[in-house]
């Protein structure tokens, strides 16, 4: 029960994009068509899960005993960057089809704030290993949801008659603001 609660909380109530303001760059930059947005969302989900699965034990089992907590940022970003690189090599060799579909996004994911943000949050919120994985999965799903919703909204915006000053990106922030308002409505979902 607690697990489901945590999942819903991280996916909807504390949505990564709309409530926590993480990963806004891909949210604005990669949502111009639904297929691309879904691809980016899935690739990010994969990397977030992998990164959380690796960084949590690294922090608790290696860095805490050695008293290296202050190097958290440096260690985590290096782990994430090398993981992404590793996944890229692995996919290239094992499944070229999947690599062609995901490859373009992988390089961008290294600098995706959601990945580093979620791994750091897992530590600062004092989650245990299972909770961390659930939290990571929930947040990643939240990211995927927001990407897909936004790409849908954008396909409507394309044909809409937008005031000249708002044409292009500014209108997207207004859309994001309204979506974020909608997501605030989930707040009462769990007491």
């Amino acid at each position: 029960m607690e697990t489901i609660k945590l999942f819903i909380k991280s996916a909807l109530i504390d949505n990564v994009v709309f409530i926590q303001y993480l990963a806004i760059c891909p949210f604005i930059g990669m949502t111009n068509d639904t297929e691309k947005a879904t691809g980016m969302g899935l690739a990010t989900t994969f990397v977030i899960m992998l990164a959380t699965a690796v960084t949590w034990p690294l922090y608790k089992l290696v860095m805490v005993p050695l008293g290296l907590e202050f190097l958290q940022t440096l260690f985590f970003i290096l782990v994430i960057a090398s993981l992404v690189q590793l996944v890229e090599f692995f996919l290239k060799k094992m499944s070229p089809g999947l690599y062609n579909a995901m490859g373009v996004y992988l390089a961008l994911i290294t600098t995706n704030c959601a990945v580093l943000g979620i791994t750091i949050n897992c530590i600062s919120k004092n989650y245990n290993y299972v909770q961390s994985l659930v939290y990571a999965f929930g947040s990643a799903m939240g990211f995927l949801i927001s990407m897909v919703i936004m790409s849908g909204v954008r396909s409507r915006v394309k044909t809409a008659n937008v005031p000249k000053a708002f044409a292009g990106t500014p209108i997207l922030y207004i859309c994001a603001s309204l979506l974020s308002l909608a997501f605030l409505g989930f707040k009462g979902l769990i007491k």
Partner: protein, 218 residues
């Protein structure tokens, strides 16, 4: 173009014309996440500028020694080192700011502005130009942050400079609009600011067009 005005142009570019946030649309997360008060906005802006300038200096000095195949990991390591310095300094001396900025301090590492400027500018240009570029971009970032947080703090919290010794109560409780302090307000204010800049640019372009048409007629 003379040497001097060229240098000035590098410095000024980041302010409005190539503003990293409003025009290039990079490095947005921190700009929306921390701007609920002016104090946080300035703090984040200064921290970010420090990391940006220092990273550009280091990368620019060593740009010929870094093999291009492994340049990205090298950049990340340098940026992460300076971010850790900012994090430790804030934690030691300005704890309230450290708590308010929270996860967004370590996230300076993955701020696309720094990675983008280091890759696009510092790794190709001389030390002096890189410092100017870093300062210009940093100041441009800080200006926008202060602008957003000014509007959000004023309308959402009804105060100015909360968290410092100069706190001023401006709006009484009943006139505050809570939405500006929460998540949707950030997107809204940012969108409107971006639209204002775009309108200004369109106005400028129109004026220039008009001029060239008049010039052609004469």
């Amino acid at each position: 173009m003379s040497e001097k005005s060229n240098k000035l142009k590098i410095f000024i570019n980041g302010f409005l014309r190539e503003n990293p946030l409003l025009v290039l649309n990079i490095g947005l997360c921190s700009s929306l996440g921390v701007t609920t008060s002016i104090f946080n906005g300035i703090g984040m802006g200064v921290g970010m500028t420090f990391v940006l300038v220092m990273s550009e200096i280091v990368i620019s000095i060593f740009r010929k020694l870094i093999p291009s195949a492994i340049r990205l990991p090298v950049f990340i390591t340098v940026i992460a080192a300076f971010t850790t310095i900012v994090q430790l300094v804030l934690n030691a001396y300005v704890e309230s700011l450290y708590n308010a900025l929270g996860v967004f301090i370590p996230l300076i590492v993955v701020n696309c502005i720094i990675m983008g400027r280091v890759e696009a500018f510092a790794s190709k240009n001389k030390l002096g130009d890189s410092i100017l570029d870093g300062l210009g971009m940093g100041i441009g970032y800080t200006i926008v942050l202060v602008g957003i947080s000014l509007i959000r703090e004023l309308l959402g919290g009804g105060t100015l400079f909360a968290g410092t010794a100069f706190k001023i109560e401006v709006l009484p409780e009943a006139f505050r609009i809570g939405i500006f302090n929460s998540a949707p307000g950030g997107f809204l204010v940012f969108g409107i600011l971006a639209a204002c800049l775009q309108a200004w640019k369109q106005y400028q372009a129109n004026k220039e067009n008009q001029k060239s048409i008049e010039g052609g007629a004469q």
